[in-house]
């Protein structure tokens, strides 16, 4: 029987949650890398036993771990992330020039075909690639070196490259998003990049419709329809039907359009999920009610999903990499909170139950559907 493995990164280690296809009973292993921040853990689509984890802390910086047995054992691999050439400056919070400084890896995106190839999105924003299973990392400097780079500014969480999406239908096309520079697309395997932010509007920028500078929190794409992108921006839920050339708002009847994650149903490209958060100042759900909102129409029209989720006194947040889906039928949806809960729905969001309640603050959640 098929199963699911949910990979959870937290403030103090990683956890692996495993279940069969019913997704009713879960085995929990961890903490792996106890005491370290684990920003992201993700498996290779080409080899589900190959996992990569980003482990870091304030004392000792970055470590990349690799597993070849589905997270049972791990091996530290390469942690040297050197920007290509002289990295120059971006803008600091106060608008003054600030040198590019590597802080940590936010997101690991394994290749769709090759388990040894993996991309890393880092803070300060840059894109790295390893082709030897994580032992050595080379920057793809075209993104950081974009002519707009010196004008990029960090978001509140740092100037992080947090989203990497590989287009399964068009080799060489990839998408990246940076807080708070915006969304970018490459059509030549990451060598050159163009901003794709037309249609975004962000109050707080000197030019609210600027080409770059938007605080994009997350991008999502369904692999069967890669020209359609969804975006949770700082404020506003957005959609593009032309691979990012233009965006239009689909926030519709959401109670608030601020939030961090956005995710697409595994089998329904027009079914999307967000977790509305009150505001940029109040990083918790409106009215203390933890509600996932689902649109079955690709945006505009949203329904609250509340069954099994706390509907009073709930003041957690759900971070940008902390929501995911599996590909079973029916689609499983998962998200983790800053309060340490990981919630699962085995019925596309109709009902929810916590797999675990008391982990450290959850930074990321990824699901693997196993044969």
């Amino acid at each position: 029987m098929s199963g699911v493995r949910v990979l959870v990164g937290t403030r103090k280690g990683a956890f692996v949650l495993s279940s069969d296809g019913r997704r009713a009973r879960w085995d929990v292993s961890g903490p792996h890398f106890a005491g370290w921040e684990v920003y992201h853990v993700k498996g290779s689509p080409a080899d589900p036993d190959r996992l990569y984890a980003s482990q870091s802390n304030g004392w000792s910086g970055q470590v990349i771990q690799r597993s070849d047995d589905g997270g049972v054992t791990w091996e530290p691999v390469g942690n040297k992330f050197a920007y290509d050439g002289v990295p120059g400056t971006h803008q600091w919070y106060d608008g003054t020039p600030h040198p590019w400084e590597f802080a940590r890896v936010w997101h690991l995106e394994p290749s769709l075909e090759d388990p040894d190839t993996v991309y890393a999105g880092v803070e300060d924003a840059g894109l790295f690639r390893s082709t030897d299973g994580g032992r050595q990392w080379q920057e793809l400097p075209g993104l950081r070196g974009h002519k707009s780079g010196p004008s990029w500014q960090p978001g509140a969480g740092g100037m992080c490259l947090h989203t990497i999406i590989l287009d399964p239908a068009r080799p060489g096309r990839m998408f990246a998003a940076i807080s708070s520079a915006g969304a970018f697309r490459s059509d030549d395997a990451g060598q050159t990049w163009q901003p794709i932010n037309h249609g975004l509007h962000s109050e707080g920028l000197p030019d609210p419709d600027a080409e770059v500078g938007h605080c994009v929190h997350r991008l999502a794409m369904h692999p069967s329809r890669p020209s359609v992108l969804y975006m949770q921006k700082h404020w506003d839920v957005m959609r593009s039907d032309d691979a990012g050339e233009s965006w239009h708002e689909v926030s519709g009847n959401l109670p608030t359009d601020f939030g961090f994650p956005i995710e697409v149903h595994a089998h329904e490209p027009d079914t999307i999920y967000v977790v509305p958060i009150t505001s940029d100042a109040e990083h918790f759900p409106p009215e203390g009610k933890l509600r996932v909102y689902r649109s079955r129409t690709g945006g505009h029209e949203w329904e609250a999903l509340t069954s099994g989720l706390p509907q009073e006194h709930c003041y957690v947040n759900v971070l940008r990499d902390a929501m995911t889906v599996d590909t079973l039928d029916s689609c499983g949806v998962y998200f983790g909170t800053t309060g340490g809960q990981v919630y699962a729905s085995a019925d596309a969001g109709d009902s929810w139950a916590p797999i675990v309640r008391d982990l450290p603050a959850v930074l990321s959640v990824e699901a693997q559907t196993l044969p």
Binding site: G35, N57, G58, W59, S60, G61, V63, A82
Partner: protein
Amino acid sequence: MIRVVLPAHLRTLARVGGEVELDVAGQVTQRSVLDALEARYPALAGTIRDHDGGPRRAFIRFFACEQDLSHQPPDTPLPEAVASGAEPYLIVGAMAGG
């Protein structure tokens, strides 16, 4: 034999339980001790000082014989008590670091 004490999070990373014992060829300095440590435990490269023998990470400190050696040049000989193994060389995570 040089005795090295790692902070807890690096003991976990290096998969060692207590003190680390190292043979250091030639003069015993902070650089030669760290070179030997990273050669024995490659996973520690970049976690104590920058790669390729670069500067100490900001939230890591070096103590020995009740002295703070963090700001000494890396090629300064370590105290004889460290070189002889009578006293350990302490790699410490600053309280502010994590």
